[in-house]
């Protein structure tokens, strides 16, 4: 678009254009537009001021409004004509004669005698303090400060801390002792307590050589698989992780059964110390990165779950749904990576941060060109309409396009005989119409093509018992798997027309359940509703051999002679007495096969695996394996159609402004130009490249600040998710830049190295108490970091520590999530959610994190809601936490188990011995004599009380003592 600016003809009173303006343009502007678009307006609509020459030339939030070379295309004219959803004035389109005048006037160069100066309405607004834009300034390389006490620092980081302390006339407190340090490091790095034995050996090493002992401990913890479980959870807070959508606004909460793969990705990435720039890139654009192995590809596409797991509002009656999804993505990327909230700019230029609406829609174009894959989401069209998922495959090959119809296999001459040798009760080659079967319309037989079926069906009185039989056949399905809800039913053993479909069925999944698309599944009817699915996607048009074997509750489905069953499991026998066998469609004619059938046989017994395989081997066909789908992941991929986004005026997707080329935030400057985005790609890869270019002003600062927060309990910038004008300023700006610079250059974006560097500083190793009382008074919030901050265990660490103390903790990660086969709506009251929160011995990071229905074992301690980015959790102290410690069944159970194991110690042990053992297990220390005495007194008191209540019980008394240990503040706080 060529702009008018600077190309206006000189003003001239005789100018016919000016006359036109005065006669036909100005009155219209004044009557229809000034109310909202002038300096007099209460609120200037779209930042467009039409009451000055400068204003009309400048345009508004949606860009320039006049286009001299193309007057008809001018935004102003389009708006007046009410085309393209931009409709002004709102009362109704003006007569075409008026619009025509505007076209004419623009053609003449929009001559305008009014002021050349914009009449600024907002000049009275307080100017933004330039230091408020600190995070938009490039990261500096601050000089390492000189100090008076240069013996104290271990690392340059310490010099920045001490420099400020010295400047303010303070001194750091003393160093923490070995036990405190080890405990602190354990909780900070892996979220678990050390054992008494580990403490003892560390104390000895520490006494010999502090530095060596510490480095060895830190390296061991960083290498532990528990590191990723601890630090992965921090990132999951930032990534607003959740395993269900959360209330969509209509009270419905669809599950996300595949979200856990993203959780596992994060944990694995942290453990592998994936460099942070790579970590970000994979999450934003993993699907667009090259991969050399199937595993790598699966990992990278799983990473894009970051963009898909967000909470979505209802789609019904919400014309902005698509843009709501985009908004969540813009928000999570900009807040998580840059610490900037861009979302305000969806409706208006950001009031405080230099983020114009144009920038928002430049990013929106990137995500609008991206297809978000969240899956079936309970198949509720009203909530989030079902989408496909990423298929995780065992091969790198891209799935071939659905093949054309294969010709029937050339069966071995004696195939029929071989089948017969296994003594089937029924056998039909299906190359001609069989006599003993009922053939419905829509089945054609021929020697070359066998039985071709289309809406047709074969059925007959069953010759076999419901709980012990086998069937084998060849088939070809010709229907695409995206064509309908269920691609095909091949076989039913049920009663004719039964609407509850009670009995056994073999189907091929369609669009209904995306995790079963193209795969076999066995199902036993509505009432029992058990469903077992395979993992192989059956290519449309391919011939395949199937053997179904049932023996009581056990079922097997063999595919193409593979000795490993495609499906194996238990499924109740439901088939009723009046059942028949149906081939080519279900008992109620639903979803009939479109394709072919051949070499059908039935047995009145369960074939053994060898027999089942022989049925394929005897056919003379080579064994074939189709692509395996190992699982499904939420994520993102480029849309087929890449397009820039139009501005949504006031955030309304029906009120569109001009098209904005895809791009990034203009206020965040990098030294080189941002990478260009071409027509063939959404631009996510370029977005990631720009964010991780190394000199992006926020990316590294935001992350080092988060690391600092998680190690000190207090960040350098108190608002870790808001580095904007409204956010806090850094308490140690030079330190922040020093860390950011080091993170990118010296440490190559390695999170583990950054953490290692920080925990080996002297600052990290300070005591959390001690220090002069003066300092406590002068700096109660510990801004200067002259001491370490005492911290409460977060919800996960508290639960893990309880499990660790009781001995119940299972450190091996569980496979998947309790929700991984549940695709339903979790409505209120929670009902279904309750069994998803069944007790588990695994670490808390693996509990099912349902939005709006969090695990009750965690919810009392400030769990994030999974909707907003949560770089910093609230730390509240409230009575409901005490209630949890007193009454939650989980806590009581851990106390009971601990008590039981104390009582199981050598019978000759004294109460005092057991108490000492309890303290070691719970608090990793030996109790003082007075603590022992107090505990004995408690045991005695409780025993007496229980006896007087007629419920004397030794384990009960010990459980009370153990619960007290778990509830104590010493158990829950780390120095």
């Amino acid at each position: 678009m060529l702009l008018l600016c600077g190309s206006v003809s000189p003003l001239n009173a005789e100018d016919p254009g000016l006359a036109l303006f005065e006669k036909n343009i100005r009155p219209v502007l004044s009557e229809h537009c000034y109310e909202c678009h002038s300096s007099e307006a209460k609120k200037i609509g779209g930042k467009l001021q039409l009451d000055s020459r400068a204003g009309i030339l400048k345009g508004g939030e949606s860009g320039p409004v006049l286009d001299r070379n193309n007057p008809e295309e001018s935004l102003l004219v389009q708006a007046l004509r009410w085309v393209d959803d931009l409709e002004m004035p709102p009362e109704g389109p003006l007569p075409e004669t008026v619009t025509h005048d505007f076209v004419k006037w623009i053609k003449l160069g929009a001559p305008d005698p009014r002021s050349n100066k914009p009449i600024s309405k907002e000049s009275s607004a307080p100017p933004v303090d330039p230091t408020a834009l600190w995070s938009f300034q490039p990261v500096t390389v601050p000089k390492i400060p000189d100090l008076r006490n240069s013996d104290w620092p271990h690392d340059p980081i310490d010099r920045f801390i001490l420099a400020r302390l010295e400047a303010e006339g303070h001194e750091p407190t003393r160093d923490a002792d070995a036990e405190t340090l080890m405990r602190r490091l354990h909780f900070d790095l892996i979220g678990l307590a050390p054992t008494v034995e580990e403490l003892a050996s560390f104390r000895a090493e520490f006494a010999t050589d502090k530095r060596i002992a510490l480095e060895a401990l830190v390296d061991r913890l960083l290498a532990s698989p528990q590191f990723g479980e601890r630090w992965g959870r921090f990132w999951l807070d930032v990534a607003r992780y959740g395993e269900s959508n959360g209330n969509d606004g209509l009270g419905r909460n669809p599950t996300f059964p595949n979200a856990w793969r993203y959780r596992d990705y994060v944990i694995a990435a942290l453990n592998a110390d994936l460099p942070y720039d790579r970590f970000i890139t994979e999450q934003i654009a993993g699907d667009l990165l090259p991969a050399s192995t199937a595993d790598e590809r699966n990992r990278q596409i799983t990473a894009t779950g970051f963009l898909a797991i967000g909470h979505k509002p209802v789609a019904a009656m919400n014309q902005n749904f698509a843009m709501d999804v985009v908004d969540d993505q813009i928000n999570v990327v900009s807040t998580a990576v840059m610490g900037l909230s861009v979302s305000c700019a969806r409706c208006h230029d950001h009031k405080h941060d230099p983020i114009p609406t144009r920038d928002y829609y430049a990013m929106a174009g990137i995500f609008n060109s991206t297809e978000t894959l969240w899956g079936a989401a309970a198949n509720e069209k009203l909530t989030a309409p079902p989408t496909p998922l990423h298929a995780l495959r065992d091969t790198l090959e891209e799935p071939a396009p659905d093949s054309t119809k294969e010709p029937p296999p050339d069966f071995a001459k004696d195939y029929g005989k071989s089948i017969k040798s296994l003594e089937p009760v029924l056998q039909a080659r299906l190359d001609e119409k069989p006599d003993d079967l009922v053939i419905e319309k829509g089945v054609k037989f021929s020697p070359n093509q066998f039985a071709e079926v289309k809406e047709g069906r074969i059925h007959f009185e069953t010759p076999v018992p419901a709980d012990s039989y086998s069937v084998a056949f060849w088939f070809r399905n010709d229907l695409d798997n995206s064509a309908r809800a269920i691609t095909a039913y091949l076989f039913s053993h049920a009663s004719p027309g039964d609407k509850k479909q009670t009995g056994d069925h073999i189907g091929i999944g369609g669009t209904y359940n995306k995790s079963q698309t193209g795969k076999f599944y066995l199902w036993n009817g509505v009432t029992r509703n058990q469903n077992l699915a395979g993992s192989t996607v059956i290519p449309t048009g391919s011939w395949n051999h199937v053997v179904l074997v049932r023996s009581r509750k056990k079922v097997w489905l063999y595919l193409n002679g593979d000795p490993k069953p495609e499906i194996e499991g238990e499924m109740d026998v439901t088939a009723p007495d009046d059942r028949k066998i149906f081939l080519g469609a279900r008992n109620d004619r639903f979803a009939p096969l479109q394709g072919s059938l051949a070499e059908f046989a039935v047995w009145n017994r369960a074939l053994d695996p060898g027999e089942a395989q022989s049925l394929h081997a005897a056919s003379g066909q080579t064994r074939r394996t189709h692509r395996k789908v190992l699982g499904w992941a939420m994520g993102a991929r480029d849309k087929k159609k890449i397009a820039n986004c139009k501005i949504n005026i006031d955030g309304n997707s029906k009120k569109l402004g001009p098209v904005i080329p895809r791009g990034f935030l203009t206020a965040c400057k990098t030294s080189s130009d941002p990478p260009p985005i071409d027509e063939t790609t959404s631009g996510r890869l370029q977005l990631a490249e720009w964010l991780t270019s190394g000199d992006h002003p926020q990316t590294a600062r935001v992350m080092v600040n988060r690391i600092w927060l998680n190690l000190f309990g207090r960040p350098i910038v108190m608002t870790p998710d808001d580095f904007g004008v409204y956010g806090a300023r850094p308490s140690h700006p030079e330190l922040l830049d020093h860390l950011a610079h080091r993170f990118v250059t010296e440490l190559d974006w390695s999170l583990k190295k950054m953490i290692r560097t920080i925990v080996l500083t002297r600052t990290y190793q300070l005591n959390s108490w001690g220090g002069a009382g003066e300092l406590l008074k002068a700096d109660p919030d510990n801004i200067l970091m002259a001491r370490h901050s005492r911290r409460r265990l977060d919800a996960e660490a508290l639960r893990d520590r309880m499990l660790q103390t009781s001995g119940f903790l299972n450190l091996s990660p569980p496979v998947g999530s309790t929700i991984d086969d549940v695709d339903i709506l979790l409505n209120w009251p929670h009902g279904e959610a309750k069994y998803l929160h069944e007790t588990s011995p695994h670490r808390s990071v693996y509990l099912c994190m349902l939005r709006d229905s969090p695990p009750p074992e965690l919810s009392a301690f400030d769990l994030p809601d999974g909707i907003k980015v949560a770089g910093k959790r609230d730390v509240t102290t409230a009575p409901n936490q005490a209630l949890y410690l007193f009454n939650n069944p989980f806590v009581i159970e851990q106390a009971r188990v601990l008590a039981e194991s104390l009582l199981a110690i050598d019978p000759s042990a004294s109460d005092e011995d057991r108490i000492r053992s309890a303290y070691k297990r719970a608090l990793q220390r030996v109790p003082t004599q007075s603590e022992v005495v107090r505990s004995v007194a408690h045991l005695r008191e409780v025993s007496n009380l229980l006896a007087s209540e007629g419920t004397a019980s030794l384990p009960k008394a010990w459980t009370s003592l153990c619960q007290a240990l778990l509830a104590s503040s010493e158990f829950r706080y780390v120095d």
């Binding site: 209330n247 509002p313 209120w828 907003k868 409230a878 949890y884 009454n887 505990s935």
Partner: protein, 448 residues
Amino acid sequence: MPNRRALLRSTSCGFGYLALNALCSAQSKGPPAEASLSPKKTPLPARAKRVIFLCMPGGPAHLDTFDYKPQSGKKEHPGSVFEFSQHGESGRWVSELFPEVAKHVDKLCVLNGMHADTGNHAQSFLQLHTGEKLRRRPSIGSWVTYGLGTENQNLPGFISLNAHESTVASSAFLPSIYGGTSIGVNGEDMSKATIANVTGSKLSHQVKRSQLDLVQAMNRDHLASRQDDPQLESVIATMELGFRMQSVAPDLLDLSNEPADVLERYGVGKKISVGTCRPSDFGRQCLLARRFAEAGVRFIEVTHNGWDQHKNHRRDLRANCESTDAPIAALLEDLDQRGLLEDTLVVWGGEFGRPGLKPGDKKDETGHNVKGFTFWLAGGGVKAGIAHGRTDETGARAVEGKVHFRDLHATILHLLGLEHDKLTFHHQGRLHRLTGPLGGAVVQEILA
């Protein structure tokens, strides 16, 4: 406070309150940003100290309850289809469906000019609670608790009974201690509903007390060896509070000591299930609300679902009114008698109203009407026995004294002594408030 710690240490009983007072006092050097439920001084004089919100999801039909639209003129037009009569000294018209509430009409301040933005249940319900139609925002109960703290630390500050959906009690971005405590959700048996973790331990009260004494002794030692740490002090305080809540809350929830005539008046246990009218045991909810109000709970929301009687308007509306009439009347009566109505603001209403039917018409089906509907307030500093605002003659739209949800929110906060434009919280780069970017206006005309 010369030697606070020594004082704390020497006091074993009542320690919690002492520590708490210390935490709340202006001199406390606790972290300034820490969220707290301790009572706060209000910027404006407070007329109401607490709120009972009688939440009526589904859209109560204003024209057949509190907005009388008789036929006027020759041609029949939509209006009220139930009988109305005048009541009380104020002579307000109330529908035959609310005979018991009608007896208290002189206590009510009826807002006939309500309007909101959308006729979509979920969105309007969310707007009623949070000021925002689509995004997750703190509910009004959370804002109030954030602004005022709570008077009785032995109980939650914000309780929602039989909440219709989770957003009702959500603190969203406000610290989680301002979130509502749910007791029973969406049709659960209210007689069994309780506060999470308030019971569970099978130990007797004495054993629990002995256990708590041990915990607190350990906690005091822990604190003593670590200088003054406000976090650890507040742990000690909240352990005590939790312990008390454990005995106070179940007692409050236990209605077995209420006299039979009280249970009768409230209709406790009466459950009507007809069409859209779900059995909500509304009598129990109202009686609990009174007990919570007496105990100093700041914001109590009770729910009767639901008023969305599309198909069988007359039958279902009658059932909904019958379920709630006596309980509401009993609540108003008790609050008044006990002097609580003075400083308790009662609010009745739902996400919108319904269009009227023609009385002569056989049609018995209604939809949603967001352009005009009715709320009523009582007590807590509003004028009694008045009606403010009105709808047009068919009740289709508010034409005078229009009150938007934003204005209602601003007014409720005002009555509580809070300024709606100053009660803000910083989140995602900007300050948020209940009344949103557009703000609301306090309805001055109804202030007593």
